[in-house]
């Protein structure tokens, strides 16, 4: 065996995509009479059997309410639920599970932080976001700005889809109180230089929040190394169930913030004279939580931990590289978002075709992509497009699927010719 074939064998053992696909039952179906090619992972990713089984097992064997402690099932449910919290802590490398708050998703996590920081804001303060944010990282800040008289200021984006760092340096000033920025752009795939941004913001005492919704499906962040104050993400994009997400926050800041919602679980003692809050993280978890979903998300992360992550990232990069090579096979096609540091997300347009036309005709061929404004209207305005078509890849996608996408795009183009 020569070196080359040994290397090949090694790669195959490390990352056998066909074996991985068998872990995702939904992928092996036909859509419109064609094998499903699922390239809408940026909107929501599919779930491995490990997640389905964990949730099923939870309901079959241990469901009960958590933190009540009166009986065995309650203990089992609590252990599974808090075990999942520990899995998240370890995934993010947070210092303590007190800093891991369950939310409904990224959107709720950002709303929670925006509301919690509102008392610290006054008229004239500035909240720095960027032009490439998802609406979920714009609108909650606008709502808080409305209440407090603060102002939401966007950092500019370059035509390649990178943050304009000069714009950032110019806008970060003595009035800046909060920097809320996406780790990875949902439209462009750009990986932002968050270490540098957070470092500069911290040096001025600015509170920082990173929206990791599009980052965590592709790589693992380390919140202590990033040193951000808040990091948020959704389970459903990370191969876990819908309806649950995570807010990581530094304990000191979380302690300082008022509760988001009132109800059960979040209180220590209630009386009509005075109600006191529960300790972290429960202070922010009013009501019975999404227990099975938390367990499911824990299982998703355990599943990912069982994969060879460097090999997985290499495989994803190979998908992106192949897609980039094939762009020239579709006349009039151009990529929106050509940052140097990218996750495998490809927003594109084809001259003369509306994104919705592209999406409809790809669907006819069994290929699922996203079309539209991607909840990032300011960015669509920046590029002067009504929307884009977006193929977003996951580690379970194959090079063959990338090729099918381009063959299908060629067919779409022929239909409109």
């Amino acid at each position: 065996m020569n070196d080359l074939s040994m290397a090949n064998t090694a790669t195959q053992t490390a990352f056998d995509v066909q074996a991985i696909r068998r872990d995702f039952p939904i992928l092996s179906q036909q859509v419109n009479g064609k094998p499903l090619v699922y390239l809408d992972n940026g909107a929501s990713a599919q779930k491995p059997l490990a997640v389905l089984d964990a949730m099923d097992r939870y309901y079959r064997e241990m469901h009960s309410n958590v933190h009540r402690g009166a009986h065995t099932l309650g203990d089992r449910a609590t252990a599974a639920f808090e075990g999942a919290r520990e899995t998240i802590r370890s995934f993010l490398n947070a210092g303590s599970t007190r800093e891991i708050i369950w939310t409904k998703g990224t959107t709720e996590a950002i709303n929670l932080v925006a509301n919690g920081l509102a008392p610290k804001l006054k008229a004239g303060d500035e909240i720095l976001v960027s032009h490439m944010e998802h609406h979920a990282n714009i609108v909650p800040w606008q709502m808080v700005a409305e209440r407090t008289g603060a102002k939401v200021v966007p950092i500019q984006v370059t035509p390649a889809g990178e943050l304009d760092l000069e714009s950032f340096d110019r806008l970060l000033n003595d009035r800046t109180r909060i920097l809320a920025i996406t780790h990875v752009s949902n439209v462009l795939g750009t990986i932002n230089p968050v270490n540098e941004l957070v470092g500069k913001a911290k040096a001025r005492g600015v509170i920082t929040l990173l929206d990791g919704a599009q980052a965590v499906p592709h790589f693992q962040p380390d919140v202590q190394a990033l040193d951000c104050d808040f990091y948020v993400f959704s389970s459903h994009k990370l191969f876990g169930p819908t309806g649950i997400g995570v807010l990581y926050g530094k304990a000191a800041l979380l302690e300082d913030m008022p509760p988001y919602q009132g109800g059960g679980e979040m209180i220590e003692r209630v009386s009509f004279e005075r109600t006191t809050w529960n300790v972290l993280p429960y202070k922010f978890e009013a009501g019975t939580p999404a227990i099975a979903e938390a367990v499911g998300l824990g299982a998703a992360i355990d599943y990912l931990n069982g994969l060879d992550r460097p090999a997985m990232e290499a495989a994803e990069n190979a998908l992106m590289a192949r897609a980039n090579q094939l762009v020239e096979t579709v006349p009039g096609m151009s990529i929106i978002g050509t940052a140097k540091q990218k996750v495998p997300v490809m927003s594109f347009k084809i001259e003369g075709l509306h994104p919705s036309d592209i999406g409809t005709l790809l669907d006819q061929q069994g290929i699922a992509i996203r079309t539209g404004h991607h909840c990032a209207m300011p960015l669509m305005d920046f590029y002067g497009v009504p929307g884009t078509a977006r193929a977003s890849f996951a580690f379970y996608n194959t090079l063959d699927e990338v090729e099918q996408l381009f063959a299908a795009l060629q067919k779409v183009q022929r239909l409109f010719a």
Binding site: N32, H354, S356, T360, L361, D363, T371, P386, G387, L415
Partner: protein, 153 residues
Amino acid sequence: MPATEQDFLDNPLGKNPTLEDVLDGFEFLDDWEERYAFIIDLGKQLPAFPDDARIEKNYVHGCQSQVWVVSHFHEASGKLYLLIDSDAMIVRGLAAMILIALNGKTPRDLLATDIDELFEQLDLFRHISPTRGNGLRSMIGKIRDIAAAQATE
């Protein structure tokens, strides 16, 4: 350019081709490529849309693409004439289909037309993504609202 009454009356859709022509033509198409090529071709027959009618009042919300509908009631004949515009080609084709079915009818006749049944018959609800289906329904809803308002006057 603003639309004149003549622009509305000159819109061939609703007269030629007729709904029967379209249904007959559609029957012989056996795969999705042919069906969509047919729809795209129909879209090319949409007459020019008046520039000054691209305003909020005429905008159809709920579509992924931009869609406008403008109407003119022809007093002499008691018929309602419509123009539709979209920036997406498949939506233009579906709009043409809607005009073929509804354009130049009295408001009462328009309201009595079962457009859903037509789209079922054309097998288009099944072949169109749910979001697009919604956009189509918004477009039809807007036209029916116009007709209903006219009918009660």
